[in-house]
Symmetry: C2
Amino acid sequence: MAQDNIKIVLVGPLYGGNIGSACRAMSNMGVSELRLVAPDASVDWDEAKKMAVHADALLAARKTFNALADAVADCIAVVGTTARRGLYRQHAKAPREWAGEIEALSGRGPVAIVFGREDSGLSNEEILQCTHLVQIPSSSQYASLNIAQAVMVMCYEMFIAQGDFEPVKEKSELASGEVRSRMYDIWREYLLETEFMSDDTADHMMAAFNRIFSRGVLTLDDANIMMGVVRQSRWARGR
Amino acid sequence: MAQDNIKIVLVGPLYGGNIGSACRAMSNMGVSELRLVAPDASVDWDEAKKMAVHADALLAARKTFNALADAVADCIAVVGTTARRGLYRQHAKAPREWAGEIEALSGRGPVAIVFGREDSGLSNEEILQCTHLVQIPSSSQYASLNIAQAVMVMCYEMFIAQGDFEPVKEKSELASGEVRSRMYDIWREYLLETEFMSDDTADHMMAAFNRIFSRGVLTLDDANIMMGVVRQSRWARGR
């Protein structure tokens, strides 16, 4: 699977909570390999494990390197993330612009997605080791994302680009045109019977009903429920 | 601004760190109002402030309510987020499917985006107060996102849908066809002069150069640098 070729690389991370949160985000999005470059000596690994929650195995299987060059030595593409705009960073693109290409590359070999230090990002020397640069769109008022949040945005975009997420499916089939017009006919008769509307106002009122029920698609179950309401109301009235 | 109409509602949050991280994510994506419904008594507000970093004013300005109905009383749309699939949740859509509609609605009035408890999500009774349901795509191996990560994904999709992010622009204009063919001509002459290639192999080799430089767009600066290399090499050889 292409997703197996995505390697998340954190350079010089300082906080265990961020490392653990990044692991959970990766796992949520089907990415499984974490590489750390020279994590700070003060990293709280218990905090990392706590924030990883069910991604603790991914955290435990992390690989650690001394320098970025070692961490990406096997990678055919190195995607650097940057919050700053400036020297060596002018050709950065938004994640969604790169996602398709990165996904395609990950079908051909390991691809690193690299995140810089919490306080200072990636150095110019590290930026120059990247084949692709990404800047996550953010507010000009507060542009700098938490590192685990940046990992989530990138992994989420890759997961969507990969396209094998199975969206929720409604169990009921959608109502056909024939069912929908039967439903409107039954309601028209009923609203005339109860004098909710008169022959004069029926077309106008039914246009409103049509509008209300056409805001989104109706399932067969939905239409049956609406027809059932009329049936039951007639029964209750007849008692 | 439509983004001002987006209200992030956290129902029964347990952890200060998550609340603070959610504030930072909101602020990164230009969303400014946090509403809490019955936060747990054990919430560590110092931890919240720490994780909010520069979004501490947003955290401090939070509004607190006793019940979801009160928190969304002024909202024309209530978007519930759910990780589970099941009863009352079958018509959920992915964030990207809803983003355009939610963005349009936020131009007409306040829109709540509602996130459930860290441990149990939203109750069925709360789901029934929602006008829209969202399920964030995630791995079937580990579907449940951290709540602050879910806030980031939703706010990020809304920010992109709003479309007023100014992407990085390269300062140099792009190289025109005329500049590019001048660059190739200069390189062809130079590679023949240095006998890197012969007249027989020139077309084949220049096709490779063309391929290498056409992987992406070249700016005028890029083309000038490549032509400068030839000029300088000739000078160095002539010395």
